[in-house]
Structure formats: structure tokens, C-alpha cells
Symmetry: C2
Subunit: 936 residues, 2 copies
């Protein structure tokens, strides 16, 4: 989802970029060339400065690059930033074509540099109040680490020597600055292999038998500098001793770095246009380690952990940023600064308030103090926990900084996942392996290699991670018993992933490197070999796998969260339902805010071992009487199950799907001789007959086989048993005074005749069970029971004008609809979908996010046709896409009534439903405004 | 197809029926009641008679029932028929409601009977010139054997006795007539079990130690009659001795027989409306066995075997119809009658000519002569061989009785199949089993239970029938070596069926009762047990299986057939292409009239054993170099194959599809240790590695898996090799001066990006091979090469507006499109499609005839969208439906350019294409007429 948001910004910026400058390759006019040098944080009469810029932030990013845009905004706000000037992105193409910088640009850069000297009272290329600068790249969209940076420009051998001499206690500092400059310059500007400089440093440390750079003396560092300069000369290159020349060469090198191989590759992968270019920012260097009145720190405008409204952060005096990070010295809490430098502290709090107010969001701010003077280096929206994010959103609404509607965009979907699942505490532990993050949450436990072992550990009260090549319906009991699931194969919608999410279990799938040896009950991953029973930890939100037990933190459903989701529900038009198969899941769904059950899969009720045994007998019976006997027995279980689930949802509706999977999914293993013997004997058939029957049930393409309503037609007694059980379950609740609401759903319909045949037959069965019921109740039960079908085949979409006539509702099964529309089995597609993504043939896995152009077009057609014949028909979705925000946007736009997803996706779906409706209202009001404008 | 035509008539009649009488249950007015008795073949002043009826044939059938309608037409033509009167179908509901016949009907029936007496000079209920009548049912649509008939009405004990006395030589005849009347009456009218009467007859024969009825004396028969009458009385029922009463009761009983259980069931199965009702026809009986001036016979207006224009038939004097059929006496050729009864013969030829002219088709006529007087009992379009049918059609056109366009409907598609395949000579042999008629033609040969054995027999020069549970691509060589194929499972589009038709082999599939024992190399079917090597015969046109070798007759492609298909091509708008994979098949396709190859499947070229071995190595290679080596080797074979096929088609285009099936279809059996060892060693990998690799290639749903262009993207070297081979094959032919035409087709595309990625890459490969070619040739080759894609996924249909942009042609793969649109695997659907048909949930198997409402709607959408972006795009179909007439009608209506089918379907497709276009022109001209009429 983050990706998606980025894509949107991206699109927006692309659009702006086109508007601003249709072809960046056209040389800029002289006037525009002159305006391509902009000062940030100080003014120079002849030049544009931040204060004069009129662009909004995306426009600024396109013109100045992302980094300088941030500085420009701060400068406009009169927040103290280290003065800087920017050579705009437009110059990049010009430079790359001409291979030199236009005169006017050089002239204006010089003006800008002189202005900077005046502003700081420092001098570039001087040992007296020396001004050092950095030269940094900055593309409109962040390309982290792809392009080059040079620090400490302005030093030469003479200047460094003079500075060292003037302040002997800083000699080491200045020589080290100079050494770094030489190395970076040689690498970036002169194109020399930086390896030789690193080796020189290593050799020096070895010869002095020290481990750390900081242990090298000023003298050693001076020696290194001179050695490096010699080395450069011997390559036929030159490190200029003229600081201005250094600066110009560095600016050119940074422009050139737009076209390094890695940058080009990165842009191809991320679809960033070639002609955008990078900007170059030349910024004064400030040093928090200059003296005891200097320092550096990081501060949040509110507590990023729980969201409390109180500034929060740390700082170190006489230190650089890296000292805070390295942890060699213990930083002070930010309040302490009030004692050390009360004026500066005061200034900082004012700045923080200003930034939070301007950006209207909690900020994460880096600052440096040089000689009591405060500089803000960077501000950005604070990364915070989900709890804090929601807390802050609710605070901002209370403080009237934010409308409730706007608060909806303040929490990311990933963060909601964090709230709902136990998560790993931050850790430095290196994962032993990675797979796909199939179902969020962290879980630790013993490795179990089969479901039986998992159940055994669970019974002994041990936490379990079920580790399988892949899971199948037979593993259900083992999955239920486990705390987490790890598989070697499969994608985001593989069996393990779907069931894992449904159960709210942490789940990592497609961990390709994972090797499982059944023979010696062990696994191999990332070079480690672990036995069954050893403990591992998986992080289903990140797809990572660790050895041992790592500490986790639990679910946090705060009062602020309650309030926040209340707002979401207010904005939503879509009703959010849950996919739930048990009373426990039903209750969980309610807690998480579902307003009904959109999909209750009856097949999962047959997986409990005793019932599974009975079910198998039913499938395998040759004699009608045997079948009927078993069906009767199963009926009792179903009445019990249905009654409990309905009761758990009280007045909220429960949509129960009739048996769907092909029968062979229920068969015992061919190798389970014990069970086979038992079944054969109870059915009075030979083992051969039994095996033949099992063989006959196998299918070449089970996805396209004998399942869903096709079973209902060939095995009418099963469907009849199920609807009768539903009728009895309704009766039971009504007689207890609980007026439950039932929806009966017929799966895999491809033609109206198929549906109508079953409807007629099943409605008769259902009503036949109510003959004994009190007539008022009977009427009431019939009123509370709706009949519908699942649309999961292209043909059902095309013929929805027939199918929709005689049902109360239709629900799209988008998983299967995607499979059939694409002709793509989710079990088999992992083999090539990876490459498809790499080649950009597909952008997003259609099983994760609805394929609007293909599957979406069929859905649109189906909705239109069904509503044309039955305007009151209820339209829903109960595939995996029901929990995917961008798919939800589509369903909302297509006027769906309900979406249904796994319980732990419900809060995400609630938020997504709210956002979708807000987007739609917004686009409608824009359209109507445009219309009105058009009329004037 | 016959079914289809019947359905159409059915629909037409239904429509008429509605128009004529929207609700048949409304009691008729007295006037209409009066008109419900109609005389046929004679006039009665107060009544309607055939001559007065204005209805056309379908309307007559609705009013009078099918049988009487035929009599009415003959009567109108003044062809001598035994006089009859009809009680119309409308009376059926009236009678069934009232349980008696209205007075006016009884009165008019009496009038009609009196008229009949006058017309014949006979008297009903008299021993002097006795009139005997039959009472027969007749529904608007034939329901053979479903309702009741009573013969010989008019006899009583006294009358019979008197007749016997008057003509002692006919005593046996009259008593036998009376006996039959009593039995039928007791059964049909009185509802007694006819078993007791049959036993009485058997007992009598036993007691006289005779075997045949005809050996019983007049006396014995008289005894039997009296015994039967006693038996009826003892049941408390009565056989009326009043002939009029007999008649009325019989009429009522026949009306009642509309509602017998079997009739109701038959109507449900065949969708015949309940309220149509049966009519009752009372007809004078005529006796060809009355004397030596009487006789009976069957005659065709032209020779039904080869079509010669010359009447053709046989007759027997002093005989009944059953004597001709029984074969106890040898009948005379019809010409002989000219000598025996020249006047009657002359009259017969006049009648025959009149009937042929009126019905404008060759007639098959039953006649009886009673005392030199000719009666025509029945006329109908003559059943004839395909050769005769085509001969007749061409004759009729020459004789200006028929327009060429109308000749198109004179041959059924089944008949064309007959022409093309060797067929069984008519036989009385009882089949030992039945399956589905998957590929027409008859074939005999030794049973081979696996492809190896089939190849072995074939090498030894023996004819072979390959008998398998089902076939798979590995069986290809064995199938090619066989004369016919028989499988136990699978439907009309199973592998065996599709490949069988493609190869033009006789094929019977889905012979469910067939049991194959691999262990003792034997099969069981229909109670017989046969060993491998025993001979059987299969009739692929009928789905029958016989023991031993039965005589067959060979292909007959006569001059008349040539002319006939020439006309068909003239009327067609669609170009008919063939699916052909080898030069032999290409040549056969041309002979059968294909104007190009619409689908050449490259995968079949890899099934030859040596190549298959190489191909397997390519699939299983871990090392890139090994792969490339094998790909190079295969390239040579492909150039050879492609060059030969292109050459065989000369200037006609050849559309070659790039590799389509999933790779695992090519894998060796896991049990074939020898080959596995060979492969592993040649690839320098361990057996375990090999097996792992094979395992990794398995798929859960192969139909939705890693195949088609998905392989092209993950294994670009294979597709590149194939297009390079095509380029070299084109070059080879062009350099020989043969300007061949190539179409390259990319299968299983789901998105335009996928297609465009491959097009770009493959066009480059193709062109790279032409760098060495003379530049004029090069240009020419590029001009003669078109690029296209197969549309076989719903998503490709929906996004055809993108997919169609950059290709020269698209071809619908309707087999797979049907599978994905319905979510229905053709391999697995046999389990329930039978029941679906039985329950009328589907009417026609969508794999046999295109599902217009679903798949058709997607195709319509795709064509519209593709043409919108690319008006010149060529649209074709190459699925099985390309050879199905009703599907062809759809493709023609949707403005397709080409249809492609297996070679032996080509003539059918040519005819179907002509008919489809004629239908379309017809409906257009009707529409334009309606429009014009509207304007007036």
C-alpha cells in the first residue's frame, strides 16, 4: 500500500512535470537559466531565494529536488537552516548535453556563494573563519544512495595546515575532514577506485596497531592526506588546490551521477522518467563538535511510541550526528537542554511548534548547534508506532488542526496490521531467511513438520510453528493448533496464506531457500540446520524467519483507536463483513468491527477429525443407504455449528456458503492404511473398490472440476442436508428469542438454470423443516432468510442478467474469478509471476489487488446486468480482494453494498472503505464544481 | 445436427401453436368442435375435409398430428390413400378434462364413418363387404411407440364367424384379425394385462406343438378368441359386440394414452408441451393379402444407394407389409409390377412423380394394392446414402427443381462424414459395447493396449485399434500407428477425441463399460473377454464396438460431390482452413478443400521419439549451456518441418502456433528408469536431481498453469528458436521460388504487455535470420509474414482493445476459452455433464457447440473491441468449434474471416459456412423487406 501511495505521488508529479515543462531537453532561456540558481536560508539580491518561490511542495520537489524543497520550505518559514543554494534539476539535462555549466549559472553560483559567506561571516577557501560546504544530489523522487555526495569542500593542504596550526586541539579534526574530502573527491569527481584510499587507511591503522579511525593522530592523518594526494597525482589526475575549482568540478560530478549505471537501473525498475534529472545543493557545513557550546540531536514533536503530546528526543553536546547514533556516549533527554542552553532550547521548541503546525503532522527533526546557534538540518513526518499514529490523529482532530475526514489518511494500512497482531519488538537480530509476508504478526514456537506433531506440541501446551513445503486442507487442524505457519512454496494467496490470514495466524510463505527433510526431521535455512522441536520466530508482517524466541509486543486496541474507527464507519458507504467459519471467529469479527459475516465456509466444519472420517465415508459410499446414514449424522453437527455461529452474530447477518471444494480434497491419504481399512470395512467394500473409488474422484484440473454447485446437483442430499440444518439452526435461535439473520449462498454458478434448479429444490427442503414451527416464527424465519449466489466465473458475469433475476444477493468470489479470467492457477503461477513483475508485464499481483482492466471489467458488466433485472439486489465481494484497499476503492466506486474479508483485515477494510468513499465524494464534488464552472 | 434441425422445427411449431391457440385448455366453441372432425381422402358435406384445409404442413401437424397431416397432404394431391377421418389434437385436452367426447364430435364421427362406407362401398359392422378400421394416435411431433393403436376394429364374434363361413379359405385370416383386435382392445381400452392373452397363444401353440402363429388353424384361433373373451368377462370387463361402441371406446383410449407414464416422461425429456395433445385418426384398413390381385411394397423415387434417377423398390403380391420385411418370401423388383398389373404400375409411377414434385425431394413410399386398387400408406423423404444424397441434390439443380442455394440444405452433416471416412457396411451384428462417436469412420484391427504394442503391430503390417483407459500426449506415436482408437473415459473433446479427429482416425471414447486389465493384457466389454491381439471393429460415427472384423466401404468423393462443394464455396463468406501439423495433413487438408492452415501445433513435432528425448533434455537441463545445445539441435528439425508444411500449402497461408502445452506434458514417465538414467547422465546430474526437477514441473491445475506465452517469456530461447526456424523455412522456400505465406501465432495471451513484449523480442529474432538473405527476398518474406495471437482467455476478450492493436490477426481458441469461461475442465466435466443434460440444465455440450450466451458474448465483445482499434485485423477461430455447424453460424454472423478445423471436418465446415451465409443473407433481406413494408 505504501507502494501505491508512492505511485500516486509519482503520477501526480509526472503530471505536474509535464505541465511545467513539456520537454526538459529544450535548452532553457537565459532568464530561466539565471533563475536556476536559488538561495535557501539567505537572500542575494540578483537571485531567486526560497522566500520568493511560489510553487507548492510537489512543484518545489520537481524544480529543486526533494531535499532542497524541504530546506526551501523551512527557509520560507524562517526556520534556521544552514544556508545553501540550489542548482535546479532543469540544469541536469543541460549539463549532460553540453558537458559544461553555462556561464550565467557559474556566475550566479559565485554570487550565491558570496552571499552565503556574508550571511555566515565565514569565508570559503580561507583558514580564517573557514566556510566548508557539501555538494549533494536531489531528485524529485527519492533515489536513496543512487547518486553522489561530497562533503567538506573548501579545504586545501595549505588551509588545513593553517587551521591545524591555529587550533592544535582541532588538528586531528581538520586533517580528518581533509582526508575524507580527498577520498570522496577522488572517487566521485576523478573517477578513481576508492579502494586504494581505503587500503591506505587500513595500512596506517595496522602499522599503528589501532582499530578505530579516531585513534589515529593528527600527524598520521596528515601523512595519509599527503600520501593520497601523491597517489592521485600518480594516476595522472589532480586534486585541485583551488576551492572554487573543487566546487565546480563537484557540482558537475553530481550532475553526472544521474547517469551512473545503478541510477539508470533504479529508474527503470521504479519507472522514474529519464529526463527528470537531479538537482545539486551546495550547503554550508555546520559542526556540532566544534566546541562545548555546540551539539547535535534528534527530536520528535510528540512521543513516537505512544503519541503523548510532549516533545521527545535526545542530544549530545560537542558531538556530531554519528556520535548520537553510535551509542559510544549516552545522550541527554531533550529537556536537559533547557538547563544547558535555555535560549537555544526555547528557540528549538518554537521551531518545532512552527514545523508541526506548518506540516500539520508530528515531525521528526534533526538539529545541530554550532556555538549556541541552532540549525535545523532536516524535518519530516515522524515515523511512529501505530498506537502513536492513531493517538496523534485523534489529538489533531481535538486540537482542530485536522478534520475527521482528513484524519483517515493519517494511518497506513500496515500500521493497522501492527495494532492487531503481536509484533516483534525492534531487533538487531539478522533473519536466517526471508519469504513473503503472508499474514501479519510475530510468533515463536517449536518447529513441527507435520500437523500431527503440531497438535501434539499444542496439547502439551507448547507454542508451535508449523513448517511445511506447502499446506493443504488436510493440514487445517495442525494450522489451527499452531501459532504461526512457515512454508517453502506458494504465494500471497496460497493455501497457507489464505487460511493463515483467515485464522489470524502469523504466516510466512514462499521461503524458497527453506529445505525440509522429512527423513531426519530437520530443516535447513540460511546455512543453519534445525531439528523438529527447535524454536524459531517468524514475523509475518515482514516475511522474516529467526532462530530462537524473540520478544514480541501484543495487540493494542486503545480508546483512540475505537474513536478513530468510529469515524471511519461514519464515512463509509460499504458495509464491512468478515469471512468467519466458527463461533470464535464470528465473535472476533464483531470485536474487530465487522457488521456481519459475508462468508462462512461450511467445508471447514468437516475438517475436525471425527467428522472428516464420517464425511469421507459419505463420499466413498457405494450404497445409497450408507450415504444417507452418514449424511444424517453430519446433519446433527451442522445444526450445532450453524446455530452457534448465528447466535454469536445475534442480529447481524451470516452468509453461509454451501459445500464448495471438490470431494477429493477430503479424501484420506492413500498411504493411511489404517483409515482406509476402517472405511472399507464400515462400507463393506474391498480395499480395491475403495481405492478405485478414490482414484475416480481425482481430477486433472481441480479448480475447473466437480465442485461448488456442481456437487449440489450431483449430490443433492448433501446440499439438502445443509439447508435443512440451517433451517433448524434458525428455528433453535428464534425459539430462544434471538432473531438471527441468514443468507444462503450457492457457489460456482455458471448459468441461471443451474442456480434456479438448486434454488427451487433447496428452498423446498428449507421450508420443509419449518412445517413443525409455530406459524408466526415460520413467517419470521422466512423473512430473515435470503438466498443468493457467488459469482466467480466469467460466464456468470456475462449472464448475470439471468442469474441475478431470482436471488436476493450476489457475492463476487474474486479469487476464483481472477484465476478463471486470467486462466491462471494461483497454485502454479508463482513459477512465472515473479519474472512477469520483473519485466513489468504485470505491476501488481492480480491475486493481491483486483485487476481492474480485466476482472474489474467483468464485474462491472455483471453488476450492471444484475441491477438491470433486479434493482434491489445486494452486491458484495468475499474474495481476498475484499480486504485490499485499492480493490475496495473499486468496489466502492461500483456501488457494491458489502465487502467481506478475514477478521484481522476488517479494521483495514473499514478504513479503506472510508477513504474510498471520501475519494469518491471528493471527485464527485470536483466534477460538479467543474460543471458549475463550465456553466458560468 | 439432426437434433438441431428437429429443435428448430420444434420451435417453429411451438410458435405457431401459440399463435393458433394461446391456451388449448379453453373449451372450443361449438363451431370449432364441429370442425375438429376432418375427413381425409373423401368428402362429407357437413365436415371439413383435407381438400378444404388451408394450413401449411407444420400447421397441419399441429392440428391433425403428424401422421394425419401426411395423409391430408396426399389427399389434397388426390393421391389415393385409404380413407380416414381425424379427431384433432385440440380434442385431446377436452376429452381428458371431461372424460367423455362432446356430442357434436360423436355425431360428426358417425357422419364421417358413414361417408367412409359410402366412399369404399363397404359397411362397418357387417359381414357383407365389411369395413374394418384402425384407430391411431398422432402427436404434432413424432413420439414413436409412446401412444397406443388399435387395428381391425369392426369385427365381432358373429361377424367373424359369418366372414369365415362365407370364405372358408380366409377363415384363418379373419379369426386371426379378430384375435388381434381382442388382445389390443383388452390391453389398450380395458387396461388388462396383455400377458394373459399372449400366454394363451403360447399355450395353444405348445399344445399343438407348432412354433409359428401362422401354423395355427382357423379352428384353434377361433377357440383362442372365445377363450380370451371369457377371460375378459371373468375380469369383470366386457369386450363390446357393438362395433360403434368398440370404436368410441378405442378413440377415447387413444386420447387417454397421451397421459401414460412413458408418454409423459418422453415429453419431459424432449421438451414437448403437455397441452399439445394427440389427435386420433380412424382409417379404413386395406389388405394386400386379400387375394392374388392384392399386394404391398416399398418404393423410392430414385435409387437411395447411388442416387440414379429411376424408381427403385420391391413388392410382394398377396402379402402384408410384414411379409416384405420378414424376408420369408423373396419380393419382386418394382419394375416387375408393370407386367403383373400394368395399369396399377402406371398409376404408381404417376403418384411417385407427383409426390416427388410436391415435396421436391426423393420420396420413400409405402403402398398397398387391394384388389388392383392402389393405396399409398405413407410417403416421406427417402433415407439414402451420402453419395445418393449429393447426387440427387445435383440432379435436382440440373432439373431446375432446386436452386443451388437450396441444394445446400439437402445433405446432412452426418452424411458428409460418411463420404469422408470408410464406413461400416450395413450390418445386423450387435455391438458388444457403446461409447461416444468421437471421430467418424469405421476401423478394424488388433487390440493394442499400449502405444508401443500399437507401433509393433503396425510395423508388422497389421491393422491396430489402440485401446486405452484414456490417451495422453505420450501416446501420440501409438495413435498415429493405429487405425482406430477406443478409450474407456473422456468426452467428445478428450485428448483421444481431439487428436483422433485431427488425424482422421476412427475413434470411440468414453466407453464406460470397457474394463482394461494391464496385468493379463485383456479387456472386458459387454460380457466378452478379449486378449490383446484379438481383432475388434469400431464405428466412430456411431460410437459402437464390435468383435472381429466387419466389412467396410471406402471414401467416395464423386464428381457430383465436387460440384456440390464448389457451390458451397461460392456461397460462403468465411474462409475454411484446417488444423494440420504435418506435411501429410497439409496435403490432405488441401484435397478436402481447405484454403490454408489455421492452426499448426508445433508441439506435435516434438513427439517423435528421438526428438522427444532431446526435448526432455532441454526441459530438464540445469545448465544453460546444455539447454542451448539441445535447443540448437531441435532448431534443425523445426526448420525441416516448417519448410515442408509451408511448401505443401504453396501460396496458401500456414498459421504456426508457438509452443503451447505445459512442459510437464513432455516429461518421461517416472517409471521409465532407462530413459531417466540416460537423461540424467547426458545432463550430468544425479537421478535425485532429475526427479526433483521433474517434480518441480508438476502442476495442480495444468490448464491454468505455466504454458503458452508464459513459457515463451520464461524460456525465451525456445520461442526464439521456433521463429528463427520459421524464418529459415521461409527463406528456403523463397529461394526455391515458392512464395509461401506464414502466420506466427502467440498462444494464451492475457494482457497486451505480455504480447507486445514477445512480439518485439520475436520479431527481432525473426528478422535477424534474414540478414543474410537477398534484400528483395527479405522484403518479400517480411511482407508474407503476419503476426498474431490466440484469444483463449476471458481476460484477453475483455482487453482485446489493447491486444488487438499491434497484431495482424487474432484467432479464438474456443476450447480453452470455453473451459475458462465456464470454469469447466473438459477432462473432468464428464462426471457431471451427463446429469446436467438429463436435468436440462444444459441443452448442448459447450465443448461441442459454442455457448453463444456466455462464451459467444465474450467473443462478440472481443471482436468489437479489436476492430475498433484495428479495423483491418483478421478474425478467426481454431478451436473444435471451427468445425461445428451451429457455431459456424455464429462466427459467420460475427463477421469472422476464417474458421479452422481438423482436416476431415473441412467439407462439413465448407457446407456449414455456405449455409450460415445463406441464412444471414436471408434474414437480412427479410429485415430489409420488413423495413420497406414499414415505410409504406
Amino acid at each position: 500500500m505504501k507502494k501505491l501511495q508512492e505511485n500516486r505521488l509519482h503520477e501526480k508529479m509526472k503530471a505536474k512535470s509535464k505541465k511545467l515543462n513539456p520537454s526538459r531537453i529544450i535548452p532553457l532561456s537565459n532568464n530561466r537559466l539565471a533563475r536556476s540558481v536559488v538561495t535557501l536560508g539567505y537572500d542575494v539580491k540578483a537571485l531567486d531565494s526560497a522566500a520568493k518561490l511560489k510553487e507548492d511542495l510537489p512543484e518545489l520537489k520537481i524544480r529543486l529536488g526533494g531535499k532542497a524543497a524541504g530546506l526551501a520550505v523551512m527557509a520560507k518559514l524562517r526556520v534556521p537552516v544552514p544556508p545553501a543554494f540550489n542548482l535546479s534539476t532543469a540544469l541536469c539535462q543541460i549539463y549532460l548535453m553540453r558537458q559544461n555549466l553555462p556561464e550565467v549559472v557559474l556566475k550566479n553560483s559565485k554570487l550565491a556563494l558570496e552571499g552565503m559567506q556574508r550571511a555566515l561571516g565565514k569565508k570559503f577557501g580561507s583558514a580564517d573563519q573557514p566556510l566548508l560546504v557539501s555538494v549533494r544530489s536531489g531528485a524529485p523522487i527519492s533515489m536513496p544512495g543512487m547518486m553522489d555526495t561530497i562533503l567538506n569542500l573548501g579545504l586545501t593542504t595549505d588551509i588545513t595546515r593553517a587551521l591545524a596550526k591555529k587550533n592544535p586541539e582541532q588538528a586531528r579534526f581538520w586533517w580528518d575532514c581533509y582526508r575524507r574530502l580527498i577520498t570522496m573527491f577522488a572517487d566521485v569527481v576523478l573517477g578513481l577506485d576508492r579502494h586504494r584510499f581505503d587500503s591506505a587507511l587500513d595500512n596506517q591503522k595496522k602499522s599503528e596497531s589501532v582499530k578505530d579511525d579516531s585513534q589515529l593522530s593528527a600527524q598520521s592523518l596528515e601523512g595519509l592526506c599527503l600520501e593520497n594526494l601523491d597517489s592521485i597525482r600518480s594516476s595522472g589526475k589532480d586534486f585541485p588546490q583551488d576551492p572554487w575549482q573543487q566546487l565546480v568540478l563537484s557540482i558537475e560530478a553530481v550532475f553526472r551521477s544521474w547517469n551512473t549505471e545503478r541510477a539508470v537501473h533504479y529508474r527503470q525498475l521504479n519507472g522514474i522518467p529519464e529526463d527528470w534529472g537531479t538537482s545539486v545543493t551546495v550547503q554550508a557545513m555546520v559542526f556540532g563538535n566544534r566546541n562545548e557550546l555546540s551539539g547535535t540531536g534528534v527530536v520528535f514533536t510528540r512521543d513516537p511510541s505512544v503519541g503523548t503530546k510532549k516533545i521527545y528526543g535526545e542530544y549530545l553536546m560537542n558531538a556530531q550526528g554519528e556520535d548520537v547514533v553510535a551509542g559510544t556516549r549516552t545522550p541527554h533527554p531533550i529537556e536537559h537542554l533547557n538547563k544547558q542552553l535555555p535560549k537555544t532550547y526555547k528557540e528549538l521548541t518554537v521551531v518545532l511548534n512552527k514545523l508541526e503546525t506548518h506540516f500539520n503532522d508530528v515531525q521528526d527533526v534533526e538539529f545541530t548547534i554550532e556555538n549556541k546557534k541552532l540549525f535545523i538540518l532536516q524535518t519530516r513526518s515522524a515515523k511512529r508506532t501505530a498506537v502513536a499514529a492513531i493517538e496523534n490523529a485523534v489529538q489533531f482532530v481535538k486540537e482542530k488542526r485536522l478534520k475527521e475526514a482528513d484524519a483517515m489518511s493519517r494511518i497506513s494500512y500496515e500500521q493497522i496490521d501492527q495494532i492487531l497482531h503481536p509484533s516483534l519488538k525492534p531487533t538487531d537480530e539478522v533473519p536466517m531467511g526471508r519469504g513473503l509476508p503472508a499474514s501479519p504478526g510475530a510468533a515463536s514456537g517449536r518447529i513441527a513438520l507435520d500437523p500431527e506433531q503440531a497438535v501434539q506440541y499444542a496439547r502439551a501446551g507448547e507454542a508451535v510453528i508449523l513448517v511445511r513445503r506447502e499446506t493443504s486442507p488436510e493440514d487445517i487442524m495442525g494450522m489451527a493448533a499452531s501459532n504461526g505457519i512457515l512454508t517453502a512454496t506458494g504465494g500471497m494467496t496460497s493455501h497457507a496464506a489464505v487460511v493463515g490470514r483467515g485464522m489470524g495466524k502469523a504466516c510466512v510463505v514462499g521461503c524458497n531457500e527453506l529445505q525440509i527433510s522429512e527423513a531426519d526431521r530437520s530443516i535447513r535455512l540460511g546455512g543453519f540446520s534445525l531439528k523438529e522441536g527447535d524454536t524459531i520466530t517468524i514475523n509475518g508482517g515482514a516475511g522474516t524467519v529467526y532462530r530462537g524466541v524473540l520478544p514480541t509486543q501484543a495487540l493494542s486496541w486503545t480508546p483512540a483507536a475505537q474513536k478513530f474507527f468510529g469515524w471511519a464507519d461514519k464515512f463509509s458507504r460499504l458495509k464491512v463483513l468478515a469471512n468467519a467459519d466458527t463461533p470464535d471467529q464470528a465473535r472476533l469479527s464483531r470485536e474487530l468491527g465487522a457488521t456481519g459475516i459475508g462468508l462462512c465456509r461450511t467445508e471447514h466444519m468437516f475438517f475436525e477429525s471425527e467428522r472428516l472420517r464420517e464425511f469421507r465415508k459419505m463420499i466413498l459410499a457405494h450404497v445409497e443407504a450408507d450415504r444417507r446414514r452418514v449424511v444424517e449424522k453430519l446433519a446433527g453437527h451442522q445444526v450445532f455449528d450453524f446455530a452457534r455461529i448465528l447466535e454469536a452474530m445475534k442480529s447481524l447477518s451470516v452468509c453461509i456458503r454451501l459445500l464448495d471444494p471438490p470431494l477429493h480434497e477430503f479424501l484420506p491419504s492413500e498411504h493411511d492404511e489404517d483409515e482406509l481399512v476402517e472405511i472399507a470395512s464400515s462400507l463393506s467394500i474391498s480395499m480395491n473398490q475403495l481405492k478405485e473409488r478414490m482414484q475416480a474422484l481425482q481430477e486433472v484440473n481441480p479448480m475447473l472440476g466437480h465442485r461448488g454447485c456442481r456437487l449440489g446437483i450431483t449430490h443433492p442430499d448433501v446440499y439438502e442436508m445443509q439447508v435443512k440444518a440451517m433451517a433448524l439452526a434458525m428455528k433453535e435461535n428464534f425459539e430462544k428469542g434471538i432473531k438471527t439473520k441468514l443468507k444462503i449462498m450457492i457457489p460456482l454458478v455458471s448459468d441461471a438454470k443451474e442456480l434456479n434448479y438448486l434454488l427451487k429444490r433447496l428452498q423446498k427442503s428449507f421450508e420443509s423443516c419449518l412445517d413443525v414451527v409455530d406459524s408466526a416464527h415460520r413467517k419470521d424465519i422466512l423473512k430473515h432468510t435470503k438466498w443468493g449466489t457467488m459469482i466467480e466465473l466469467p460466464r456468470a458475469c456475462v449472464t448475470a442478467g439471468e442469474i441475478g433475476k431470482d436471488v436476493d444477493f450476489i457475492s463476487f468470489g474474486t479469487n476464483d474469478l481472477t484465476q478463471t479470467t486470467f486462466g491462471l492457477s494461483r497454485d502454479d503461477s508463482a513459477k512465472f509471476l515473479g519474472l512477469y513483475k520483473e519485466l513489468k508485464i504485470i505491476q501488481i499481483d492480480p491475486f493481491e489487488s483486483l485487476d481492474v482492466a480485466g476482472v474489474g471489467a467483468l464485474i462491472q458488466m455483471a453488476v450492471a446486468r444484475a441491477k438491470a433485472v433486479n434493482p434491489d439486489i445486494e452486491i458484495g465481494v468475499c474474495g481476498e480482494h475484499g480486504g485490499d484497499p485499492s480493490s475496495i476503492e473499486f468496489f466502492n466506486a461500483e456501488s457494491f453494498d458489502t465487502i467481506s474479508c478475514s477478521p484481522f483485515r476488517v479494521p483495514i477494510a473499514r478504513l479503506a472503505a472510508a477513504r474510498a468513499q471520501l475519494i469518491q465524494l471528493n471527485s464527485k464534488s470536483k466534477k460538479s464544481k467543474t460543471k458549475k464552472a463550465g456553466r458560468r
